[in-house]
């Protein structure tokens, strides 16, 4: 039986034929075109459109620009090689490599316990001087220890998965935690949200947006500044795959901020806390991605 070609298939063939990926003399296609005025017209139009590009002038980069670009990448490669050489020398020193591998887990656990203890001690005044139940404190200690063991394991093993630098995200998260705890400890009131509610800004936002809106604004700032500062100073590697690396860093910062919020949550309703957490998540995202944009501009200008 003689094969026929529908119009849709003809359109496919025509684009392939123009690109040199199909036989331009295909008998079935030609037979179709002979009997189909619309396809004949569309072939002529497409061929003319295709031919329009034939004499498009070649464009080459200015030699100075090409040389500058090539040199910029080679400079980056040389700098990376330098860093790698230092790392290899350290790793190759007698006993150092074994020491790193053997002590990786104990180091991660010890660091996590130390940071958890320091965090809870710094915030301890809040815990012991408030109506928080003791179970609350143990819950937070367990949460922190678990999260931080993971974070320190990534850092000590320099974990990178498919271009996502988990170690860099963990560093940003711990740095953001330090900034958050320092700011919370320095707050003149026992609970930062209570301090916010009594401040001029808090009153202003509560009058206009209600209690929930004011908590949202507070949460936004609570995540924005630590996220921005930590990603700005600790997020060099995050620029490689900005979206994936940025989202992982946001997740780590947010997870590490959550227990601090939980520690202070006793006097407030669940709704206020939930809104605070939402604001913090959005603020952290804006902070981390804002810092990545700033870093990119600075790196680009430097290159």
């Amino acid at each position: 039986m003689k094969r026929t070609m529908p119009c849709a298939e003809y359109g496919d063939w025509m684009m392939d034929a123009l690109a040199g990926a199909a036989d331009p003399h295909d008998a079935v296609a030609r037979a179709h075109a002979a009997g189909c005025e619309a396809c004949r017209r569309s072939t002529e139009s497409a061929r003319r459109g295709w031919d329009v590009f034939t004499n498009m002038p070649p464009v080459a980069p200015p030699p100075a620009l090409a040389a500058r670009t090539r040199d910029a990448v080679l400079r980056e490669m040389a700098a990376e090689r330098g860093r790698m050489a230092v790392w290899r020398r350290r790793a190759a020193a007698p006993g150092v490599a074994d020491w790193r591998v053997t002590l990786q887990v104990p180091l991660a656990v010890t660091s996590a316990v130390l940071v958890t203890t320091a965090t809870l001690l710094l915030l301890g005044g809040l815990v012991f001087a408030s109506t928080l139940p003791r179970g609350h404190l143990f819950f937070c200690a367990a949460m922190y220890t678990g999260l931080l063991v993971g974070a320190f394991s990534w850092i000590y093993s320099a974990t990178t998965v498919r271009g996502v630098h988990l170690d860099a995200a963990a560093r940003v998260g711990i740095l953001a935690l330090a900034i958050t705890v320092a700011a919370t400890t320095a707050c003149p009131e026992l609970h930062v949200l209570a301090w916010w509610d009594r401040s001029a800004f808090g009153v202003f936002f509560t009058e206009r947006l209600g209690r929930g809106g004011s908590s949202l604004v507070f949460g936004f700032g609570y995540g924005l500044f630590p996220g921005f500062l930590a990603a700005l100073f600790g997020g060099r590697l995050l620029a490689e795959r900005p979206l994936a690396n940025g989202l992982v860093a946001v997740a780590v910062v947010f997870l590490l901020a959550t227990p601090v919020i939980y520690l202070q949550s006793a006097p407030f309703t669940a709704g206020v806390i939930a809104i605070w957490l939402v604001g913090t998540a959005v603020g952290t995202m804006c902070g981390v991605f804002g810092a990545l944009r700033v870093r990119r501009r600075v790196d680009f200008a430097a290159a």
């Binding site: 359109g11 496919d12 684009m15 392939d16 690109a19 990926a21 569309s42 139009s45 497409a46 003319r48 459109g49 295709w50 031919d51 329009v52 590009f53 034939t54 004499n55 498009m56 002038p57 070649p58 464009v59 080459a60 980069p61 200015p62 620009l65 090409a66 500058r68 670009t69 090539r70 910029a72 990448v73 080679l74 980056e76 490669m77 990376e80 090689r81 790698m84 990178t160 498919r162 271009g163 620029a239 490689e240 795959r241 790196d299 680009f300 290159a303």
Partner: protein, 188 residues
Amino acid sequence: MRGEETSDEILMAAYQAGNEAAFSELFGRYSGSIYGFLVRRLGDRALADDLYQEAFLRLHRARATYDARRPFRAWIFGIVHNLVADVRRGRGRIPEAVAVATVERGAEAPSPERLTAAREATATLQAAIRGLSPDEATALLLARVEGLGYAEIGGVLGRSAAAAKQLAYRALKRVRAAMAARGHEELS
């Protein structure tokens, strides 16, 4: 002959391992294509100059993410297409710019009339490309000028080969209509 050359994918693997010569070879192969694509896609040489260096720095920083099972050409043009999309998002619509109306210098010097006509036709073509949607413009330029297959273009745009072909076809019709509307049947 290209067939005897080391493949892009092997060079890329060497580049990933830190081999400068491999990078230089890849740079030599794609420097002109990337620049030409940027100039035609943006219609603005100054902006293309800015993004050209940024494109190679992005490629360098993203090299760890390259999967050797994917064609290198699709991967590198994917980076450039995303870079252009980022700039469009950051700056809004790319401003109307002075068209890139350079004319090829052949063995025989063209007459002034022919030169003027060619410049006008190039400018019209550039304007027609700027009138396309970002994906249409990329699909058409990659298929027509860079010679990528539709499966590769689909990889660049994150679509199927059939969708990439459709985009290129639609773009071709729109370019042809824009050229005809301005009285340019062919650029010659």
